[in-house]
Symmetry: C2
Subunit: 334 residues, 2 copies
Amino acid sequence: MKRVTISDVAKHAGVSKSTVSQFLNKRYDYMALETKDKIEKAIEELKYHPNMMARSLKVKSTKTVGVIVANILHEFTTQIIRAIEDVCQQVDFHIIVCNADDDPMKEEKYITMLYGKQVDGIIIFPTGGNIELYKRLQDYNFPIVFMDRFIPEIGIDSVLLDNEMASAMAIEEFVNRGYQSAGIITTSVIKNVTPRLERISGYKKAIAKYDLPLVPGYIKSVKRACIQPELEKMFHLPKRPEAILAGNDLSLIEILKFAKSNNLSIPGDIAIIGVDDVSFADLFNPPLTTIKQPTFEMGKMAAELLLDKINGVGKDSKEYINRFQPELMRRSSC
Amino acid sequence: MKRVTISDVAKHAGVSKSTVSQFLNKRYDYMALETKDKIEKAIEELKYHPNMMARSLKVKSTKTVGVIVANILHEFTTQIIRAIEDVCQQVDFHIIVCNADDDPMKEEKYITMLYGKQVDGIIIFPTGGNIELYKRLQDYNFPIVFMDRFIPEIGIDSVLLDNEMASAMAIEEFVNRGYQSAGIITTSVIKNVTPRLERISGYKKAIAKYDLPLVPGYIKSVKRACIQPELEKMFHLPKRPEAILAGNDLSLIEILKFAKSNNLSIPGDIAIIGVDDVSFADLFNPPLTTIKQPTFEMGKMAAELLLDKINGVGKDSKEYINRFQPELMRRSSC
DNA sequence: CTGAAAGCGCTTACAG
DNA sequence: CTGAAAGCGCTTACAG
């Protein structure tokens, strides 16, 4: 499986490697047409494919960016990946996707790996567990942008949903529909994951604004496996909430499971709104009211910010947090 | 953003590049403990990360494999990717995922790109549109394995579901439940996509075996956007089918949409079984009976076959098609 | 208009 | 036990 190299092409075409290289890089300015033809033919005949690694070693750019996601199981995540890929592909960049599984150790491993592979930049859904590393990369001036979450300690460009607004929208909708109390359930918050923190604080503010009861037992932020028992507790409170806000798609699924196994009708027994416009929202019975993130725009911006940094055209504004507005998808679960 | 190189480390530690390289490759056999320590310290102090590209150029292995999927929107696909990543990661291989979008042009671009990036091998869900290219890679002895689909013209190792069995299981279940007729709907078959072809032929054989009516209007194989109107037609036949088999997750979603917008109760008005055990099968009302593919095992085998080829321990058997058995997940939509 | 030479950051026989 | 040298497959000033 000996690969054909630039030397083979040069020999075959009867020119030097330099000239072939000029050809490959489309610098035809001073190239005799005849030379060009010879090289073209040699490449075709030998089925030559340049070794991009060798090239990258020289030019110090791989035209590749890494994307490290916290948890690839969220639909939100896969949509963001698609959006990033879309814009990268237009400028002939490739992406390498890594799933950190919400584990800082894995995240560190992947950052190191991508850095070693000489990617030109990285988009990270940060676990938050590698602040020193993030800082170091920033010091090196290595292009990074954060997605979905941000690290207050570091001023790295971040693309985020207006999470407080998302909760506010949901609570407002509950109120407009006449519900008098609402709970919230999100996956665990121990690692200070931005969206979860902000969705809870947004929930609290909205609860206060609309004078709904603020009951500690209505606020659950636990790992996925614990959601069912926690819901159990919430629903055995002397006065259970009439509505419930699901912090993301996975929490929503757990709530729906719970409703089902307890024969709760939606929205009769419990009204539900979920953040993330899940794919089955329309299909579900009843169709699910959701808060939709503008995933495509968010992914697009993250990619553009990164590409700009890579090309050295980073903006100089001090503002590094980019918020996007959610949208209420009114259906019938509330 | 000058990166630190092996020369910097060598200088800092007061040894030669060769020695640092020995250290990096854990060849400590003849290394003085003192030398080792010095290098270790230098690496730590300089925060040195080896340039894997430079290394790969020399050792001619990138420890990365490409996976080109036909359409990343299928849940089946993402599950397979996870499985592949799982096994690769255990042997410290990385994967680059590309989405060909069922477009042979894109597929060709990606194959060329991955080849240029010197990946050690590729797993492809082949579009079928690049037979010459597949052949050439095979001739080069470049490690490839096909997933989900196979190309009869070429004896490349392929991992497949026993698709005929999948259809047979579904029809058998319909029959056992007392349904007297059944249709099938899959996404378009114009490109000779293996699973669609085989699921239809399996359907026909089973229909014959159980003496159900073979009605041309019961068999639809069209692109996703045409599924609704085609269902419309099928349901306006003088005698519409009592049950319907969805060829994959996307077809299933379309059928569910159709049932919903036409107020058809499941399974009362129409019984449904879908191939692919979709994530919302349990959640749906009624819970959906499905045919489950052993995705994890399939992905695992594909990765192992590829890794074996890369390591030159390919098996020599003539048999290159590896079939996996589906499993009926009996729920309540039939 | 084209080619020889140096160099990107590594590894690997080989010499000592 | 360690280092000098050659080389992986490219690119890029520079000379002619």
